[in-house]
């Protein structure tokens, strides 16, 4: 991949918590304007990679580059105006309303004497409209359902107005309908607003359907990267997840669909 294609990437990263090394010599690039999805089995280092890309974990070797500069050389606030993150778990303060929570996404754009500009107000309204939570603006966040709450957090990240948005397992804890709703929302943000999205997802079929660029990881290494159609093959799924399967065309979208092998084969052969 040429460097000009990617605003965000990591070169020769060693990622470790204390003495426990998660990944060594890891090199990744997030193609601009892509919806990149990182997949891999549990503990393969995909969330750790996302933490490194979002400046929350300092690599013990190598560097994460944002627009060609080491992300740790940039001021935190400047990074926060370029790169947003939806963490796996966040805490909604007691009694806070939807509009107030979304408004907190404006923090990196605010200052001591510029606490709430018309621009802030406009962006918050737009972010709530884009995620369909504008009707809930005055409701306390604690009263919302899981799916609504996740949309509110996404709205907060949108209000940050960053060209790059990272999402750490945005569909975990949601039921299937809400998972699809959130992923549809992400796809829409990617297509309509031209943002670069990077998400860690658990469900391989969701990843194959929504991603424009897939990064498959195992044991802290990138096993394959590229378009879902070329990455998601039966061999790769066997290699990365250790799961025997068949890959067929998704009847809805034509993207790859992973069908795990049955424990006992059906009597009529497919």
């Amino acid at each position: 991949m040429r460097p000009g294609d990617s605003r965000l990437g990591g070169t020769s990263l060693t990622l470790a918590y204390d003495q426990r090394t998660i990944a060594e010599d890891l090199t990744v690039a997030v193609p601009d304007k892509s919806f990149t999805v990182i997949i891999g089995p549990n503990a393969c280092g995909k969330s750790t990679l996302l933490r490194a890309l979002s400046r929350m974990l300092r690599p013990s070797a190598g560097a994460v580059l944002l627009d060609g500069r080491d992300i740790h050389d940039l001021p935190a606030r400047k990074v926060a105006r370029t790169l947003g993150l939806l963490p796996q778990s966040s805490i909604a303060p007691d009694g806070i309303s939807v509009a107030e929570l979304v408004a907190r996404g404006r923090y990196p754009h605010q200052g001591l004497l510029r606490q709430w500009s018309r621009e802030d107000e406009r962006v918050v309204d737009e972010s709530m409209a884009a995620t369909g939570v504008d009707d809930l603006a005055d409701r306390p966040v604690d009263e919302l359902s899981g799916g609504q709450r996740q949309r509110v957090w996404i709205a907060m990240a949108l209000a940050q107005q960053t060209p790059l948005l990272l999402l750490d397992e945005p569909t975990t804890y949601l039921d299937i309908a809400h998972q699809i709703e959130i992923l549809d929302l992400c796809a829409r943000l990617h297509e309509e607003q031209g943002r670069t999205l990077v998400a860690v997802l658990h469900d391989l079929n969701h990843a194959a359907r929504y991603a424009t660029h897939l990064i498959a990881m195992r044991d802290g290494r990138v096993v394959a990267a590229g378009e879902p159609a070329s990455v998601v093959t039966a061999d790769l799924v066997a290699e990365v997840f250790g799961l025997p399967c068949r890959v067929i065309d998704d009847p809805e979208t034509g993207t790859p669909l992973v069908v795990p092998a049955a424990r006992r084969r059906a009597t009529t052969p497919a």
Binding site: V79, A80, R81, I91, P93, I96, E100, G105
Partner: protein, 342 residues
């Protein structure tokens, strides 16, 4: 939430209700103060007190108000505000309503410092200094013990509770070693008392508040509000989480230590004032300014009660804050339990 905007593109955001609570508590504190200045062995009406304050009155009244009663009142206001500010900062940093300096061991550390001076003998200035050193030393020790890739809420609380327990033991030991007369004085100090406080007590606390209050209220408050969302979310919004936590912990430990140096470890104000302010303002986020005014009003009110509750028999103010604060805590737990939030 209301907004003030100027044509130049400046904008200020505020909550009218929080502003009202802050002003209301400040007025209440002023009212209590007026009564406190006028009451005692030489009673004065509010009008006389006000006249004396602006320079009128007889020389005797001048002496009584300016030299005897005003230093005590000012110390009470400052201690209340400092403890409330420190308590609010602690509670929001550890994201736990029980994260107050009384529970985390900083207060006990200040007491240990003071008791060492009592045992070894020393002036009241040395005692105040030792309280500050004890509080800061405990703060450093807890920070070092709780450190593991940064200091996080629960670890800080658990380490703090452990250190508090050890220091309570040490304090008990020091009390048994102190000469009997000094031990009695030490017990009074340990309860928290404003009795006989002069300008020498109020001065250092005022100085530290003048430095730290703007730092916390102006410099750190917006970032502290983001910290409520969790470390990851705050960091994603551009908050330098580790540095902010270090600066705020240091500021809060300093405030608690200087407050203890001025009036002893007055209990429960740091725990209760932030809660009360939050309930009154009904606002999420650390309600720093309302908390400070509520804390000041609380302590001045408690001291007034301590002086006047039993005619001819003064209580240390720590007894009153303990009873009020403990009662409030029990009531709060009962209410929260009934509401199913606990």
């Amino acid at each position: 939430m209301s907004v003030l905007r100027t044509p130049g593109g400046l904008s200020l955001r505020f909550r009218p209700r929080a502003l009202g609570v802050g002003a209301g508590a400040a007025l209440l504190a002023a009212g209590f103060g007026l009564v406190a200045l006028g009451s005692g062995d030489y009673p004065m009406g509010p009008a006389d007190v006000l006249r004396t304050l602006i320079g009128g009155g007889t020389p005797a009244e001048q002496f009584i108000v300016h030299e005897l009663r005003l230093p005590r009142l000012v110390t009470a206001l400052l201690v209340g505000a400092a403890l409330a500010l420190a308590g609010t900062v602690f509670q929001s940093l550890v994201r736990n309503p029980l994260g107050s300096p009384d529970i985390l061991g900083f207060t006990q550390g200040a007491s240990t410092g003071a008791l060492v001076v009592v045992v070894l003998g020393g002036s009241s200035l040395a005692l105040a200094g030792a309280a500050v050193v004890g509080g800061l030393g405990t703060g450093l020790a807890i920070y070092a013990l709780a450190w593991r890739r940064g200091v996080h809420g629960y670890r800080l609380i658990l380490v703090g509770i452990g250190v508090a327990a050890i220091l309570t033991g040490v304090n008990g030991y020091l009390l048994t070693r102190a000469p009997l007369m000094d031990a009695a004085r030490a017990v009074l100090w340990l309860t928290g008392s404003l009795d006989g406080r002069g300008w020498a007590n109020a001065g250092p606390l005022l100085a530290i508040l003048v430095v730290l209050a703007p730092l916390v209220l102006v410099g750190c408050a917006p970032a502290l509000r983001m910290m409520e969302l969790g470390d990851d979310a705050a960091s994603a919004l551009g908050v330098p989480v580790r540095r902010l936590r270090l600066v705020l912990l240091a500021a809060a430990v300093l405030l608690v230590s200087f407050a203890a140096a001025a009036a002893g470890p007055v209990s429960f104000v740091a725990l209760v004032a932030p809660h009360l302010a939050k309930r009154l303002t009904r606002a999420p986020g650390p309600n720093l300014v309302p908390s400070m005014t509520v804390g000041a009003a609380l302590l001045v009110g408690a001291d007034l009660l301590a002086q006047r509750a039993f005619a001819g028999h003064q209580l240390p103010v720590g007894v009153v804050t303990g009873v009020i604060g403990g009662g409030y805590l029990v009531w709060l737990l009962a209410v929260e339990r009934r509401a199913g939030r606990l």
